[in-house]
Symmetry: C2
Subunit: 190 residues, 2 copies
């Protein structure tokens, strides 16, 4: 294959991304040849800065520029509630919806014995500490919003059990599950 190294390097990088195959990687690379150099520099700078300029919030483990993160620092938010999520990305879903006004806690994964991810690899102990902390007032509700997958369910069950073991007296709730809101009953699964 007679392809210039600067091109094949970029194709290789694109191909490592989830959902991007060899064809798409090639198409994106050749597309970028027609983009101004300044845009390429901005893209490159964003990639370099992505991890350098961000930290994990020490409270909720969200990815943020500052510690504590803007959500944990926001005095208008309801500190009684903690919504437990698997990934930082999931925060966007709730923030876009704009209906939830409590705090978050990011686990950074789910319990997955097949991939050697146990409770100690996740930020579960930090959640327990937050649930027990009573500086000012106690946490009244922990909403477990892990994904409805095998791993997510196992994580939710584990967290529920361990919170009870640690004598957490607030409510432990899950997201509602069932027919998707707005869907037609006629298309519902048996």
């Amino acid at each position: 294959m007679k392809i210039a190294k600067p091109l094949s390097d970029l194709i290789e990088s694109f191909q490592k991304l989830p959902g991007i195959g060899p064809k798409t990687a090639e198409r994106l690379t050749f597309y970028l040849l027609r983009v101004p150099q300044s845009d390429l520099e901005f893209f490159a700078q964003s990639l370099t800065n992505l991890k350098k300029m961000t930290v994990l919030c020490s409270a909720c483990k969200n990815v943020s520029e500052e510690n504590p993160c803007p959500i944990c620092k926001d005095s208008k938010r309801d500190t009684d509630k903690i919504l437990v999520l698997e990934e930082p990305f999931d925060i966007l879903v709730f923030e876009k919806m704009g209906k939830y006004n409590g705090l978050y806690h990011i686990l950074h994964g789910s319990i997955n014995p097949l991939e050697n991810i146990g409770p100690d690899e996740l930020y579960i102990n930090d959640l327990i500490s937050r649930a027990k902390a009573t500086n000012g007032h106690a946490v009244k509700e922990i909403i477990i919003a892990t994904n409805p997958t095998m791993e997510g369910e196992a994580t939710a069950m584990y967290i529920t059990r361990i919170l009870k073991d640690h004598h957490f007296h607030g409510k432990i709730t899950r997201l509602g599950m069932g027919i998707p809101t707005g869907a037609d009953l006629g298309y519902a699964d048996d």
Copy 2:
């Protein structure tokens, strides 16, 4: 939206790429948070180098690290034939197939009056010069392989006419068109 600037910058860059919407851009950005910094640096370097380290081959207008490009320089290739393509990306298609052993000529677009792209915006004059040049031996065949779109067809017709106007005496051919090779006749369009 409480999203850290290093993240939103990268989401913005991804979103400018063709076929990548806001959701995918977010997913890719959060995925990259889990990638080693060295991989991010390599990706960033590839983006910066993409245009800096490449030139257009002065003969075929292919994107290459060197001028002339490896294909034009290759003494084993058949210099009698020139395959005319719209984009540098299209060379990959033919090189992967491995059946074509001639030279290429990249137009870098197609004639598109709606977007103000006329023959002068493309490398058509360079093609005429190559067709007429008789250093050693003349070009015997020019294969026009523009895309089977309105613009591609118009470009092919224009090139054919102008080559004849310039008294090009070699063959001017097009790619075969019709039933896709390997397809079932039963599924052919009326």
